[in-house]
Symmetry: C2
Subunit: 364 residues, 2 copies
């Protein structure tokens, strides 16, 4: 890669902090979505790190997670140095997470390029991802500014953010590069259909590349309060050590997403166009869509069906025996069974809230 | 009671032989329906024996069950003499069960009156049942012939057999007595509606009374092959003991119900009219109807619901969390979860057959 010929190191930040209740009852506080075995039996997190490895050296792969699951994350990634697994005392959204790692790298590798990838996406073609990330890193190094991986929409999805892009300004490898003109939050169905027809909109993948100096500058410019908090955190780290510094200062950091807090306001932002299969599997139905090519539904684990259609049936323990059900999601674990129509699957959070309110924390 | 003033003893046969797959996965080979805790937390069997007790002495209460569950039945009925729990080596339907007990009683108490009650019915008002059974026993003693308890239909139920009855021939206690003109097997919906409108049809409860001599005579007349088999069984009992005799001769007994094999052909048959709440709870939906007065559905065990309607949600282990489901039956146990629409609940047997075919006997 061009930028590494002069020794510029490439780091990756794997964001593994999500708690995620959308996969309850399979996901729990102690086993969030990124630790679920949705990547052909391996966890999404393990698959994410393995996908990166031929591109990013393991000693430059940093995983940020929460204190709650740091132990489980370490167990899932035995190949990683323990020092490379960083634990937030509480989640403060992605800008703080990215900022913390950037501030750390600014001390040890200020000239580095940094990739940012979520730990809970499903991307079967690792080589295609690495090609795209290499291009994004090279673009960030060569052009400056912030770089995001952009996917050409295949349907009017309302669950993703969109990017409005300009004409191609160049290409690197197989990937066109365009300037991002505007970020659009999750649109209405009608708006998404308009974006799809217009042709100059892309899905925002949530995967980024930038130089350490570019993201530090962007945070100082667009989120000065976060930058000040990070300065304090680093000063406290020197004074009292990182654990204590995090305990004191991390919970006070400005809580905002890197998309909303930085990317939407920064310029230039470059979109590197990619076209690999990708899913952020936001729900059981999303998982089913990734796993099954038909509309007949999908079964995972010990499931027996008779005359079922369009249903997502998952077992992580007891046999699930379903007869004549239509468009239903059933997820059975040793201690909890979820039953919800496909169309209501986004409401699982309400059930989880109800259980929390009823003091059923052993099930969360 | 009139017939006991001269010392005629009253026996009860509790038929507890059913295997029953309709309540799978809660019911198993080792825990058939009559052992399920559907009687306010107690088993249907225990509740049945307790209902009889003030009327029938415990030493005259005989429970017939299958070898598979005899141990569990003994554990459920610690107050009963072990000798009063009789185990069939295999189920041969109700005529053989009734005949075996009648043939035994013909030796030890030939002048006795015998009540026959299934172990898996739900009858909340024990006193009303005992009043009806006392009347039935007195009728059997005074009039001879066979006596059945008859319920006035409250809806055009297609799951029960019907009795066409004549005009009242008398009354005993609060109960009218009528001659049974004809037995009708489970009718079509249209026929059931006709029966309900006609007014001279009753539900056949499956609870009977007769003298030992009357039922022995009726079996000899209408099921001579069964009678011959029972004669052999008793002779073999004398020769080799009851266990070995059962092993040799019981499986060869004619397999037919007492309704079809005897009652439909015998005369006179008397119907003692009763009007207590009664259910044979033939399915999860039947159970729900007994337990809930509304159409909103019913939850048993550890169940949390949000916006559910008309559903039967049962847990015997894991939490069942249901959101937005309509007219669904969910039954969760430690090792199996059933999901089936209300309207398909009679098809649970198909699922059980499927599991049997797939060698999943640990779940049956």
């Amino acid at each position: 890669m061009t930028f590494s010929s002069d020794g510029t190191p490439l780091f990756a930040l794997v964001m593994a902090g999500g708690a995620g209740t959308r996969f309850w009852p399979l996901s729990r506080r102690s086993r969030p979505k990124q630790l679920l075995p949705f990547a052909q039996g391996r966890s999404l997190l393990a698959a994410t790190v393995e996908r990166l490895t031929p591109l990013v050296a393991l000693e430059r792969t940093l995983v940020v997670t929460s204190l709650d699951v740091a132990e489980a994350v370490r167990a899932e990634l035995p190949q990683l140095l323990a020092d490379n697994i960083l634990a937030e005392p509480e989640g403060r959204d992605t800008a703080a997470c990215v900022g913390w790692v950037a501030w750390r790298l600014a001390r040890t590798a200020p000239g580095a390029v940094m990739l940012v990838v979520p730990a809970d996406h499903l991307i079967p073609d690792g080589a295609a991802l690495r090609s795209a990330l290499a291009t994004a890193a090279a673009t960030a190094f060569a052009r400056g500014g912030l770089v995001t991986l952009a996917l050409r929409p295949t349907c009017p999805e309302t669950g993703f953010g969109y990017l409005e892009v300009g004409e191609p300004v160049g290409a690197a490898g197989a990937h066109e590069i365009r300037a991002v003109k505007r970020f659009v939050e999750k649109p209405s169905r009608a708006a998404a259909e308009g974006f799809l027809a217009a042709g100059n909109f892309r899905w925002n993948s949530g995967m980024f590349a930038w130089t350490v100096s570019a993201i530090v500058d962007a945070i100082r410019t667009h989120l000065p309060d976060l930058a000040a908090g990070l300065d304090e955190l680093m000063a406290a780290t020197d004074a009292v050590g990182e654990s204590e510094a995090l305990r004191r200062h991390y919970p006070g950091l400005r809580k905002v997403s890197v998309d909303f807090g930085v990317m939407e306001k920064a310029a230039p932002v470059w979109a590197v166009e990619v076209d690999f299969a990708w899913s952020d599997i936001g729900s059981w139905v999303g998982l089913a869509e990734v796993l099954s090519e038909s509309e007949c539904g999908v079964s995972i684990g010990d499931v027996v069906t008779l005359d079922c259609e369009g249903s997502v049936l998952v077992s992580d323990g007891p046999l699930v025996a379903a007869l004549g059900v239509r468009d239903l999601v059933v997820v059975a674990t040793r201690d909890a069974v979820l039953v919800v129509p496909r169309d209501d699957v986004q409401r699982v959070k309400e059930l989880v809230e109800r259980l929390r309110a009823e003091g059923r924390s052993e099930l969360l």
